[in-house]
Amino acid sequence: MSTKKILIIWIALFLTVPWWFHGLSNKWLNLPDWGLYAMIAAIIYSILLAFMIQKYWKTEEDE
């Protein structure tokens, strides 16, 4: 796995933290906005991992 993939995994992980939310929260889909962000970010991160495994993990059988 190249440096590029390591960076993707870490940048995505960094983005799962709700850094951008300050002060009072708003209600979105029955959740505080930052809570909804964290939940969706976690789901997207899981999908990204599954995608990366599929695309970049070349097994000995594949090779």
Partner: protein
């Protein structure tokens, strides 16, 4: 407690008892499937695990009793900030992507049994190997002890105290050590498969039931807004740093739990491993997230509980659902089985891993001429000794010492540079890794112990966990030693 407060009646308890005893039968089947009397067969199921068993054992091992009980309690206390726990478990899968393919190929070629086998192969330094193995052992021992304590409390809750804490711990530990020593990893993985299915089914069912019965996120949001609107506020900067620090702990700590590494070694081929880890990427969503929602529901229903009472958040929701008639005895049995399954599948795996580390990394290193059959027999004896000692400590250890047992990932995370840097940087030297590991561990443990003993040092200086600070120091030392070529290996 008396029998009137028991979570289950005699029928439910009998069913649960039959389920637990059936694990011994599975253990016996695992023994019958043994192919040879070797360490590889006993500790890695002959490196022959297929997709379903590998995935379920990875799942059941990764999600312990803490997921079902502790995570809900944390969600109760921290509110939506407990969503970090979902990413905590996902980050471990991210780490698998980085190291599992390379490590798996090496393990197949050089027949590794323990994580320290790789470290010895890569760095060829006895001090480093033994230090890394010792850190793994300490983390696993803490893991076993805290889970044994949890299992004792569950037994007391289920039976309303008819079976006391100590008897519950002894009985379930006995079941675990019997099936573990009968068939080793094969028995553990097969029982994990059953336990994993029950765990997944239990969590999904409880999540769906509370959505239907209480109204899901809308109910939770409105209740929190009324009782404690502060919990709706976004985390401040220090809390955000702590959030990221937690994720780092998962990435470098949870991913290298020795029993997880040994499951990577156990795959029958790389494609099986790849598919299992791919499915594992989604498990935090349908397990951790669901349990966080259970904890939030408990807060919405019963606000104002103290820390200790909030640890029973899951059981409170279950009791409430039962009183409302939303769930019957069957569902209660299912969820309690899932909780016990989660704990047992983690303890048995950690026990097997400890036994393998003591046998392979310590005993065999000093008795290299022992045969595989003898080592396997000694490994089994070690399992019994560890379990007996763990049971004794779980029953008698004073509360002040229990606080120190929370130090697990803080220790394990210091081993991660040996694995990650070892795999990716061919020129890195043993001495650099050893010094980094030593100072990182001393720093992390120093902060943790001082904090838990009441010294005025925060557990998370600047928002970062002590273990993460230790890892930073660890990596800085490795970097400096490599840069200035102070390493005596040069």
């Amino acid at each position: 407690m008396n029998s009137q407060t028991a979570l289950l009646g005699p029928g439910g308890i009998t069913f649960l008892g039959v389920y637990i005893l059936s694990l011994i039968l599975i253990g016996w089947l695992g023994k019958r499937a043994r192919k040879e009397n070797s360490l590889s067969d006993f500790y890695l199921a002959g490196r022959g695990m297929g997709f379903l068993v590998l995935f379920l054992t990875l799942y059941a091992t990764q999600y312990s009793g803490n997921t079902l009980v502790g995570f809900a309690g944390r969600a109760y206390r921290e509110g939506y900030q407990a969503l970090v726990l979902v990413t905590l478990l996902s980050s471990a899968v991210g780490a698998f992507i980085l190291y599992a393919p390379k490590l798996y190929r090496l393990s197949k070629k050089y027949k590794f049994i323990t994580p320290a086998d790789y470290i010895h192969f890569r760095f060829n330094n006895n001090k480093l190997t033994l230090f890394a193995a010792s850190l793994c052992l300490m983390a696993l021992a803490n893991y076993i002890l805290t889970n044994l304590k949890a299992i004792g409390y569950i037994v007391v809750s289920v039976t309303g105290g008819v079976i006391p804490f100590a008897y519950g711990v002894i009985a379930l530990s006995l079941v675990m050590v019997i099936y573990e020593t009968m068939g080793g990893m094969r028995s553990v993985a097969w029982t994990d498969s059953l336990q994993g299915i029950i765990l997944m089914f239990g969590v999904i069912t409880i999540f769906i039931t509370i959505q239907i019965e209480y109204g899901g996120f809308e109910f939770i949001y409105n209740a929190i807004q009324t009782s404690d609107p502060q919990k709706l506020a976004p985390p401040n900067f220090t809390q955000k740093l702590s959030w990221f620090s937690t994720v780092c702990l998962g990435f470098f700590g949870i991913s290298i739990y020795p029993h997880a590494v040994q499951r990577i070694y156990s795959a029958n081929n790389e494609k099986t491993l790849k598919r299992s880890i791919q499915v594992m990427a989604f498990m935090p969503i349908i397990t951790t997230l669901f349990m966080v929602v259970v904890g939030l529901t408990a807060f919405a229903l019963f606000p104002g509980l103290d820390r200790q009472a909030s640890e029973g958040a899951t059981l409170l929701v279950l009791k409430d659902l039962s009183q409302r008639g939303a769930i019957g005895t069957g569902m209660m049995v299912l969820f309690l089985s899932a909780t016990i399954a989660a704990i047992m599948s983690t303890v048995d795996s950690a026990l097997l891993s400890m036994s393998s580390i003591i046998t392979k990394d310590f005993y065999k290193r000093f008795r290299p001429k022992k045969s595989q059959a003898e080592l396997t027999r000694i490994g089994k004896m070690i399992s019994w000794v560890i379990m007996a000692f763990a049971v004794y400590l779980a029953i008698v250890l004073p509360q002040t010492i229990w606080r120190l047992l929370e130090i697990k990932l803080e220790l394990l995370i210091q081993v991660s540079p040996a694995i990650f840097l070892g795999l990716y940087f061919k020129k890195i030297k043993a001495k650099s890794i050893l010094w980094g590991m030593t100072f990182g561990t001393l720093f992390a443990v120093g902060i943790m112990v001082a904090n838990k003993l009441g010294v005025d040092i925060p557990a998370k200086p600047g928002g970062l966990h002590a273990g993460v600070w230790g890892l930073i120091i660890n990596l800085v030392i490795v970097f400096i030693l490599e840069k200035i070529k102070l390493s005596p290996d040069e």
